[in-house]
């Protein structure tokens, strides 16, 4: 059999977890989308800037928004803050991602409204789902 979507990728019976990617690197967006979809998540959008990410988060109401910390001239922390304070998106789970060291960023992630951090190299449906499961109610 070929790789079937991971059962764990379905937080609600029958419905895959939906996620939005926000990253200024197009090559990363493509790779991440392919991987997450293949592993059973539904990627409802990919944004290259904080502004576009904010717009898509409002219009597509994803379960999870994966936000790159270094968004070109924008800061992923600012976007996380904006999503948390906007009534429309306040319920969305935000996960920060970066190629930079988790150890360096831990304190800033802790202080942000994001549920957690994922090093980009460790991105997978499983790791996203486990952070989604650990979000505060």
């Amino acid at each position: 059999m070929t790789g079937t979507p991971d059962r764990a990728a379905q937080p609600r019976a029958g419905a895959p977890l939906t996620c939005l990617l926000v990253d200024d690197s197009p090559v990363f967006l493509t790779a991440a989308r392919t991987l997450l979809e293949r592993q059973g998540l539904r990627v409802v959008g990919a944004a290259g800037t904080a502004e576009e990410g904010y717009r898509l988060a409002r219009s597509r109401s994803p379960d999870v928004v994966l936000v790159d910390i270094a968004l070109g001239t924008d800061s992923g922390f600012d976007l996380a803050q904006r999503l948390a304070t906007d009534a429309t998106t306040a319920g969305t789970t935000v996960v920060l991602i970066s190629t930079r060291s988790e150890d360096d960023l831990a304190e800033l992630v802790q202080a942000s409204p994001a549920v957690g951090f994922l090093p980009k190299a460790e991105l997978s449906a499983r790791s996203v789902l486990s952070l989604f499961g650990h979000r505060e109610p």
Binding site: M1, T2, G3, D24, S25, V27, F28, T30, A31, A32, T34, L35, R38, Q39, I69, A70, S75, F77, T99, R100, S101, D103, D104, L105, A106, E107, L108, K120, A121, E122, L123, S124
Partner: protein
């Protein structure tokens, strides 16, 4: 001995006095501003003129002389225009001007000149002029020559101060340019190679997910390549951090230094003043703490390190103190000497206190801009 002869001898002594030169030169070395230097110069000169006035002026961009300051026994040292009015000498000129009304000097009666003025030339170029005049006595006949010697001493000191300032500015530019280059390299690595490698690793994981479950061999081969890529990424990430600590840009010194503390094998007690500082200072503080903690881990055999970053008197103070073996020395070509160069380039100072058996403390002091 008449007033005239006494003043002449005294002027000569003054010019020849090593002590005077040393006093003035050390003021220059401390980076005293021109106005303060002038006050010191004029004070030395004025000691010899019972009711004398000394004035100095400097050529401006407009090619005209502008007052630097005046000095007199009455204590009306200043840089007022009225006091500087008599300074009209052109470079190379030597004709005495007239004392300014209200500058504490009365025009002398006919006889030997009561006012003498000479140009100051720095490295062959006209810099300004220096003038003296006396309220109650004629100036010594050789006052012109003596003042000229004095002006040339002044010129040497100004020239030295100029090259010192130019050297300091060039050092600061070199460090700033190297920081900027390192920031760019880190950014290029992050935006380029690291994103591409991460993407390749994810693409491999995606391919892995498509491998039929029965082909365990291919699956494990792909998995091994993906693991190798992840290790390579870790390596690249630590290289990038060594090139430039990007966390400084995002979060400032607090998070950056706490991350250093977490990586230290020796327990660190950290006390960092909150707030953001100019980029170059934050980077310098980071390198001081980073190198000091590396040294503690490598050499100190310590059980404890204290790191403190505080602001006193418009300067950043950094202390890294351990309770280890001590006996550290600054030696050519090593980490600590490089740190001293960097700290001095931003106008600061670095001190090492390290007696054998008494632990080591490294202290850096870096002035904040505008101080």
């Amino acid at each position: 001995m008449g007033d005239e002869a006494r003043a002449g001898d005294a002027l000569r002594r003054l010019v020849e006095a090593q002590a005077t030169y040393r006093r003035l030169a050390s003021l220059v070395a401390e980076g005293a501003p021109p106005a303060e230097l002038f006050q010191a110069f004029a004070g030395e000169l004025g000691e010899l003129l019972p009711r004398g006035v000394v004035a100095m002026s400097r050529y401006g961009e407009d090619g005209k002389l502008h007052p630097v300051g005046t000095w007199s026994h009455e204590g009306d040292s200043s840089g007022t225009d009225a006091a500087m009015a008599p300074v009209t000498a052109r470079p190379g000129g030597q004709g005495p001007g007239r004392p300014a009304p209200g500058a504490g000097a009365e025009p002398a009666s006919p006889g030997p000149p009561a006012t003498v003025q000479v140009p100051i030339e720095v490295e062959g170029r006209p810099w300004g002029a220096m003038a003296i005049w006396s309220a109650d006595a004629a100036l010594p006949v050789d006052a012109d020559e003596r003042l000229r010697e004095f002006a040339s001493l002044m010129a040497t000191i100004i020239a030295n101060a100029g090259s010192r300032a130019a050297l300091a500015a060039s050092r600061a530019r070199i460090v700033a340019a190297s920081d900027e280059a390192r920031r760019r390299i880190e950014r290029d690595l992050h935006d380029g190679a690291q994103q591409r490698l991460v993407s390749l690793a994810l693409a491999l994981r995606a391919a892995e997910a498509k491998v039929p479950a029965e082909d365990a061999e291919l699956r494990s081969e792909l998995s091994a390549v993906a693991d190798g890529l992840t290790e390579l990424l870790d390596e690249l990430r630590s290289i990038a951090r060594g090139v430039h600590p990007a966390v400084l840009d995002t979060g400032g010194l607090g998070p950056a230094l706490r991350a250093l503390g977490r990586r230290s094998p020796v327990p660190v007690q950290l006390d960092v003043a909150s707030g953001r500082y100019p980029e170059q200072l934050e980077v310098s503080v980071y390198y001081v703490v980073s190198e000091a903690l590396t040294n503690v881990a490598k050499h100190a055999n310590a059980s404890f390190v204290r790191v403190e970053v505080a602001v006193h008197d418009r300067a950043l103070h950094v202390i890294v103190a351990d309770d280890g073996v001590g006996g550290a020395r600054l030696q050519a070509g090593s980490g600590l000497v490089g740190l001293r160069d960097r700290v001095e380039a931003v106008g600061g100072s670095l001190e090492l206190h390290s007696l054998p058996g008494g632990g080591t403390s490294l202290e850096a002091l870096m002035p904040l801009p505008g101080s």
